[in-house]
C-alpha cells in the first residue's frame, strides 16, 4: 500500500519580525492509544475541578475535548465524505459562564452540496444530594437557521443550567468538503484542560498540516491504521495521527490587533494531492509554479488581466495629454476609480468578466482591479496582479500556497525602477496608497509571464497631519487667529470621508463649529477635497477663549488646546499580542500667538525630547516667549506600524510622559 506522508509545520505569525519561526516536528511513536471519553461519565473530579490550576479568573473551563476526523465512502452515493465527530465536556463556574452553554455549529451548504449534523446529543449534569443528575436536552430544543445562502447554523442551549453545572455535548458532522479536512481550534474564549484531535488520513490523500498560534502541542503521535478504508474492493491504510494539547489558556482579543485567527492556536489542513488506485495523482495544493499557471490561465483572473481589447479604444482618450508612463498610469487609475463603483465585496476572482463590470459601472474588488490591470496593460504599461489577504482575514501561509487564504486582489504597476500598488475601489485614496485593510504582511505578485513572488504590503505614505496656528491675543483673553491644517495618507483619507458625509462643506464646518464648544469658526476654506493626490488643506479663521479673563495681570495659559492628549491609549498592564497601528504616523503642531502687552514668562511646560526604543517613535516639545510672542512646537512620531508586546509598556510610559507634560501650563505675568 501507499506510504503516507504527513508533515507538521508549526509557524508563528510572521509579523513578529518578518522572519518565519519554523519548527518542524516529526514524531513517530507508537505510544498509548488516543481515545474518546465516555459520554455521561461525570466524575467527582470533574465536578470539583479547581480552576486555579489553570486560570482562577475562568467563568467556565473545557475539561475534555475530543475530536476525530476521517474520510469514508458514503455507501448511498458512492462519493467520499469527511466524517467529523466532536465531543466536549465543560465545567460552568458561574453565571458569567452560562453563555458557554449556548452552542452554534455553522455548516456549509450550497445548491448541490451540504454538510449535515447528526447524532447530536447534549446534557447538563448537576450534583444534587451526592448524585449527578443528568438533564438531557430535548431534540425539539435544537434549531436550525439558514443564516445565508452558504451557511446554516445549528443552535441549541443546554437545559437546567446552574452555577457549578457540567455540560456535555457531542455530534457528528458529515462534509463533502475534503479540501480543508477540518480545522481544529485548540484555543477558544475559555481555557481548556485537554484538547485532543485524532485524524485518520487515508494513504491516498496527502495533506499539508500547519499549526498556528503561540501554544505548543503537548504531544503528537503518528500510527498506522490498517485497512481503514475500502475503495473498489481495495483496502487502504491510514495514518492515524493524534494532536494533543494540555492546559490551554483562553484566547482574549486585544485592541489594535489583526485577525484573531493569526494568533489563536489551531491546526489547519489543506489537501495537497490525491492518488487514485491506478497510481495517477491529482494535485490540489501545489507549488507556486503550479498555482502561477492556474491563476494566469483562470478565466476569472489571468484571462481577465489579458483583456486589453476592452480598453483598446478607450486608452487614447483616457491618457490624452499624459506625457510619461507615470502620468498615464495615474490617468488610468483615476478613470477606473471614477468609472466603476465598488459593491463592497472582496474577492480575487471577477464575478463575470471585466467588460461587464465596466459596463455596469459596478463590481467587486477583483472586477475593479482586474479592469485596472487590463487597462494599464492596454496602455503598454508593465502591470501585475497582487493577491493578498485582508487584515480581518488573517495572514497567509507562506510555507506553501494556500489559495483559499487569499481574499483580495490589487494591481501593481512598474514604471522605471519604481513600482506602485494600486487599489481602485477607494476613490478617496491617492495613487499608490493601499487601503488600510490591505496592509497585512505580504501579498503574492502574479505575473502572466514570470514566476510569482512575495511583496511587502506596507502603507506607502505616512499618516501625516500638521496644525499651524498663527494669531494674537486680545486684551480680554481671547485668541484670534488662523488655523491651517495639512493632512496626508490615511489621516487625509479619513478626513475626506468625514467631510463627504455632509451635504456640503458648509454643513461639515457647521457641525465642527458646534462640536468645538470653546472655539468659534469665523471663516473657512477647505482645499483639495477631491484632489486626493494632494494634501488636504483646511484653513479656519477662529476665535477662542483660553483664559476666563478674570485676571489679566497674571494668568495661566495652556498651549495644548489642539489635539490634546489626555487619555492613554495603552492603559493596560500587559499585552500578549503585537500592537498593529497599520501605518507609521507623524503629527506636528505649531502655535504662534502674539500677546497684547509685554508679559514675562514665569513658568512654562518643560521642553521635552523623548523617544521609543529602537527609534520606534519620538515626541518633541519646545515652547518659548520671545518678542511678545508665545510659541509652541510639537512633534509626535510613530515610526513603526507594528509594535511587539514587549514594547507595550514603553508605549504606555511614552504616552504617560506626554500626558503629564500636557497638564502643565504657561504662567504669564504682565511686565511693568
Amino acid at each position: 500500500m501507499l506510504v503516507c506522508r504527513v508533515k507538521l509545520h508549526q509557524f508563528i505569525i510572521a509579523q513578529m519580525n518578518k522572519t518565519l519561526t519554523l519548527l518542524f516536528l516529526l514524531f513517530l511513536s507508537l505510544a498509548a492509544q488516543a481515545q474518546n471519553f465516555n459520554y455521561g461519565a461525570i466524575t467527582y473530579d470533574d465536578y470539583e475541578f479547581d480552576r486555579k490550576k489553570l486560570d482562577s479568573n475562568a467563568n467556565a473551563i473545557v475539561l475534555k475535548e475530543f475530536g476525530t476526523a476521517s474520510i469514508q465512502r458514503d455507501d448511498n452515493t458512492g462519493s467520499m465524505e469527511l466524517i467529523f465527530e466532536h465531543h466536549v465536556k465543560i465545567k460552568i463556574y458561574n453565571k458569567e459562564g452560562f453563555k458557554e452553554a449556548n452552542i452554534i455549529i455553522p455548516t456549509y451548504k450550497d445548491d448541490t452540496r451540504e454538510e449535515t449534523i447528526s447524532e447530536l446529543k447534549a446534557s447538563t449534569f448537576n450534583y444534587i444530594q451526592n448524585n449527578f443528575v443528568e438533564t438531557v436536552m430535548d431534540k425539539k430544543a435544537v434549531f436550525t437557521e439558514n443564516r445565508s445562502k452558504y451557511t446554516r447554523l445549528t443552535k441549541f442551549t443546554l437545559p437546567n443550567l446552574k452555577e457549578g453545572s457540567i455540560i456535555e455535548y457531542s455530534y457528528k458532522l458529515r462534509s463533502p468538503n475534503m479540501f480543508n479536512f477540518k480545522t481544529w481550534e485548540f484555543q477558544s474564549d475559555i481555557p481548556k484542560v485537554v484538547s485532543e484531535y485524532l485524524v485518520y488520513i487515508p494513504g491516498i490523500y496527502n495533506y499539508n498540516v500547519s499549526l498556528r498560534g503561540f501554544q505548543k502541542l503537548t504531544d503528537q503521535k503518528v500510527e498506522l491504521s490498517k485497512e481503514c478504508l475500502r475503495l473498489s474492493g481495495t483496502a487502504i491504510d491510514c495514518s492515524k495521527i493524534t494532536y494533543l494539547m494540555k492546559d490551554i489558556p483562553a484566547f482574549i482579543e486585544e485592541d489594535n490587533m489583526t485577525a484573531p485567527s493569526n494568533f489563536k492556536s489551531a491546526i489547519y489542513f489543506e489537501l495537497s494531492d490525491v492518488q487514485s488506485l491506478n497510481g495517477s495523482k491529482t494535485s490540489y495544493t501545489k507549488t507556486w509554479k503550479d498555482v502561477d499557471y492556474e491563476l494566469s490561465t483562470d478565466k476569472s483572473l489571468g484571462a481577465q488581466m489579458k483583456r486589453k481589447d476592452v480598453f483598446k479604444d478607450l486608452i487614447p482618450v483616457i491618457t490624452k495629454g499624459s506625457n510619461d508612463d507615470l502620468e498615464k498610469a495615474k490617468a488610468i487609475f483615476n478613470y477606473i476609480k471614477k468609472q466603476i463603483k465598488w459593491d463592497n465585496y472582496y474577492g480575487k476572482y471577477a464575478v463575470d468578466n471585466i467588460k461587464k463590470a465596466l459596463e455596469n459601472r459596478s463590481g467587486n474588488v477583483a472586477d475593479i482591479n482586474l479592469n485596472l490591470i487590463a487597462a494599464l496593460s492596454a496602455a503598454n504599461l508593465d502591470a501585475e496582479a497582487v493577491i493578498l489577504s485582508t487584515r480581518d482575514n488573517g495572514t497567509v501561509n507562506k510555507l506553501y500556497p494556500v489559495i483559499s487564504d487569499f481574499n483580495y486582489l490589487v494591481a501593481k504597476v512598474n514604471i522605471g525602477d519604481k513600482s506602485y500598488l494600486l487599489d481602485a475601489t477607494e476613490p478617496l485614496l491617492p495613487f499608490g496608497l493601499l487601503p488600510l485593510r490591505c496592509i497585512n504582511d505580504q501579498g503574492r505578485v502574479i505575473n502572466l509571464k514570470k514566476p510569482s513572488y512575495w511583496i511587502d504590503l506596507t502603507a506607502s505614505q505616512k499618516t501625516v497631519s500638521s496644525y499651524i496656528l498663527i494669531g494674537k491675543m486680545t486684551p480680554e483673553g481671547k485668541i484670534l487667529g488662523t488655523l491651517t491644517t495639512h493632512t496626508l495618507g490615511y489621516a487625509a483619507y479619513n478626513k475626506r470621508k468625514d467631510i463627504l458625509r455632509y451635504n456640503s462643506v458648509d454643513e461639515y464646518v457647521e457641525k465642527l463649529d458646534e462640536r468645538l464648544t470653546r472655539i468659534k469658526i469665523l471663516e473657512h476654506s477647505i482645499i483639495n477635497i477631491d484632489s486626493v493626490e494632494h494634501p488636504l488643506t483646511e484653513k479656519y479663521e477662529v476665535e477662542f477663549t483660553v483664559t476666563d479673563g478674570s485676571n489679566t495681570n497674571q494668568f495661566y495659559l495652556s498651549p495644548f488646546f489642539i489635539n490634546t492628549i489626555s487619555k492613554n491609549p495603552f492603559n493596560l498592564n500587559e499585552r500578549t499580542y503585537p500592537v498593529d497601528l497599520g501605518a507609521a504616523s507623524d503629527e506636528r503642531i505649531i502655535i504662534n500667538v502674539t500677546l497684547p502687552e509685554k508679559y514675562q514668562l514665569i513658568e512654562k511646560p518643560k521642553d521635552m525630547a523623548i523617544g521609543l526604543p529602537n527609534a520606534g517613535g519620538k515626541y518633541i516639545l519646545n515652547t518659548n516667549l520671545e518678542d511678545n510672542t508665545i510659541s509652541m512646537n510639537q512633534v509626535l512620531q510613530f515610526n513603526n506600524a507594528i509594535y511587539q508586546p514587549e514594547e507595550y509598556l514603553f508605549l504606555k510610559e511614552f504616552y504617560s510622559k506626554i500626558i503629564q507634560n500636557q497638564k502643565t501650563e504657561f504662567l504669564l505675568k504682565k511686565a511693568n
Binding site: K155, L500, K606, K663
Partner: protein, 634 residues
Amino acid sequence: MKFLFSAAFLLLVSVSGFAQDNYDVDLIPANLRNRANACIRNEETTVDMRSPDNVMLNVKKAITVFNQNGDEEARLVLYYDRNIAIKGIKGEVYNSVGKLTNKFSQNDFSDMSAADGFSLFVDSRVKHYLPAVNQYPYTVVYNYEIRNKQNLIIPDWNPKPADDVSVEKSTYNFICKPADQVRIKTQNYSGTPEVTTDEKQKKTIWKANNILAVRTEPYSPSHETYNTSIQIAPQDFYYYNHKGTYTNWQELGKWIYDDLLRERKSLPPTTIQTIKDLVKNEKTEKDKARKIYQYLQDKTRYISVQIGIGGFQPIAAGEVDQLGYGDCKALVNYMQSLLNAADIDSYYCVVEAGSEKKSMDPKYASMVQGNHIILCMPLKGDTTWLECTSQKIPFGFLSDFTDDRLVLACTADGGKLLHTPKLTTAENLQTRNADLTIQKDGSIAGQMKTVYAGSQYDNQESLIGKSITEQHKLLKETYNIDNIDFETVSLAQKKEINPKLIEDISINIRNYAPVNGNKMFLQPNVFNVKRSIPEMRNRTLPVYINRGYTDEDTIIYTLPDNVNTALITPQDKHFKSVFGEYVCKAAVNGNKLTYYRKLVLNDGTFPPDQYTEFSKFINDVNASDYLKLALSLK
C-alpha cells in the same frame, strides 16, 4: 357615477407602471434639496385588506439619492416569515437626467435570517438590496407587493423616514370593506383624508407633499412626536389561526390573556410543592414573592426564543420549569405561575422597554406597541414590579429600562394600563467619597467609595460576578485615567426596592499631578467630568431631557508637606438654571484639600429657544470640571 369612478380607479392601478414618470433630478424643488441626502420623489403605499387573512401591501417608491450618505435610504429591506409572502419585487435605476440605466428583480436580493446573536428563531427572514451606483445623484424606483396572512398588524405610514430625507410626494391608501370597522391613529397630519365608498370598498387616502429635510438636533424628543404618521388597527382580526375583536386596551388585553397566556400556566405538582414549601414560613405576600423571585433568578436564565404565534406567545411554564431558560414572555409567565402556586396574584404586562421612555397610547390600542414583558404584583395596594430576565437585578426594581411609562397589564378581567414608578432626579443619585494622599512626585493613592442608586444603580452592575482581571479592565474603562491601577475592588448590592450598589475600591495613580519647576498641577476632579454638548443656533425642536440625575463627589486630598498651603486660594462656583444646579468648591484646611462637586440635572421638556441656555449650562459645567490648581511647592 359610483361605478364609473371605481372602474377608473382600477384602470389607474393597473397602468401605474414606472416609465411614464420623469425622474430628472432638476425637477426637484430647491428647498427639498436643502440639508437632504435623499429625496422621496413619490411613494404610494396601498394596503388592501381584502379579508382578515389576506391583506395586500403594495408599495411603489421613487427615491433620489444626492450623495453617498443617502445611499442607505435607497436600500430596500423586506422582512418576511410564513405569514408574510413576498409576491413580487421589481426595480429600476435612473441617472441624474432621468435616463434608465439599470433594472433589478427579486433575484438580485440577498436573503438572510433575521436572527441576531444567540437567538432561537424559527423563520423570520429578511431580503435586502441596494443598487451599486457611483454617479450621484441617481434615482431608484421600485415596486413590491406583499401578502400578509393576518391583519392584527397593518403596515403603517411614516412618509418621512429620517431627518436628512425630504419628501416631494407620499400617499397612503387604505382599502377595506365598507362594513369593516377600523381605528385610526393620526399624528401630525393636518388635512383630512379623502374617503370614497362604494358597495365593495371603502378607500381612505392620506397625502403628504413637500416635507423638508431637517438637521438632527441633540436632546430632542422622539421622532414620533413631530413626524407625520398614520396607524390602523382593524376591529376584527385574524392572526396565526386565532381570531379576535378589540377596540380598546381592555379587549386587547383580554384577548392576549385568553388566547395566548391562559393555557400556558400549568406547572408540575412537584414544582408547586417546592414553592409551597419554600414560602411556608414567610409571613407576608411580599416576603413570599421575594423568595420566589430568588428561586426564579437562581433557576432560570434569559435566552431569546422567537417562536409561538408570531413571537407573542410564551413557552409554557412547565417547559420553562424543565429547561431553565426562556425569553421575557416565558420567564414572566413562569414567574406568574410560580406566584400562583403561592396564591399571589400578578399581571403579565406588555411594555416598550429602553432607556428612552415610551408609553402605551391610552387612546389607541394596538398590538405593535411594546417590545418587552414585565410582571406586576398588586399585593393589596403595595404594587411591586418585577423584571424577570435578569439574574442580578434586585427584587422589585425595574431600572431605567422600563421605569415611568404606561404598560398594558393583561389580566383575566381584560387589559388595563398601569404606570410604572418614576425614578426621580433626586433618587438617581451617585455619591462618591474619596480619601486620597498626594505624594511628593504627584502620585496619588487612597480609598474611594461610590454609591449608585436609582437609574444610576446599574452603572456598574455589569461588574458583579466578573473575575478580578475583568473587573480591573472594566474599571479602567470607567476611570480612564493615565497610570491608574486598582488594588482592592469590592462591590456590594443592597437589594432593596430602592436598591443601591456600593463600589469600594483602592486606587493608585502614578504621577497624576505633575510637578513642573516649583509647581504641582492638580485637577482635583479626577473621576467625573461632564462632557460638553454642541452649541446650536436656530434650534427648532423642544429640548427633551429623558431622565434627571444627581451626582455628588467629595474628594479629600492629603497634601504632601512640601506644598505651600497658604498660597492656595479657595475656589467656589455655584450656578443654577431650570436645567439644574452645579456646585464646585475647593478649600484647604491644614494639610487637607477638600474638593466638592455637585451636579443636578433635571428631566423635562423645554421650549426650543432654551437650548442655548441648556448648552451653556452643560458647557459651563464641563469647563468648571476642568478646574486646575497650580500648587506652589516650598
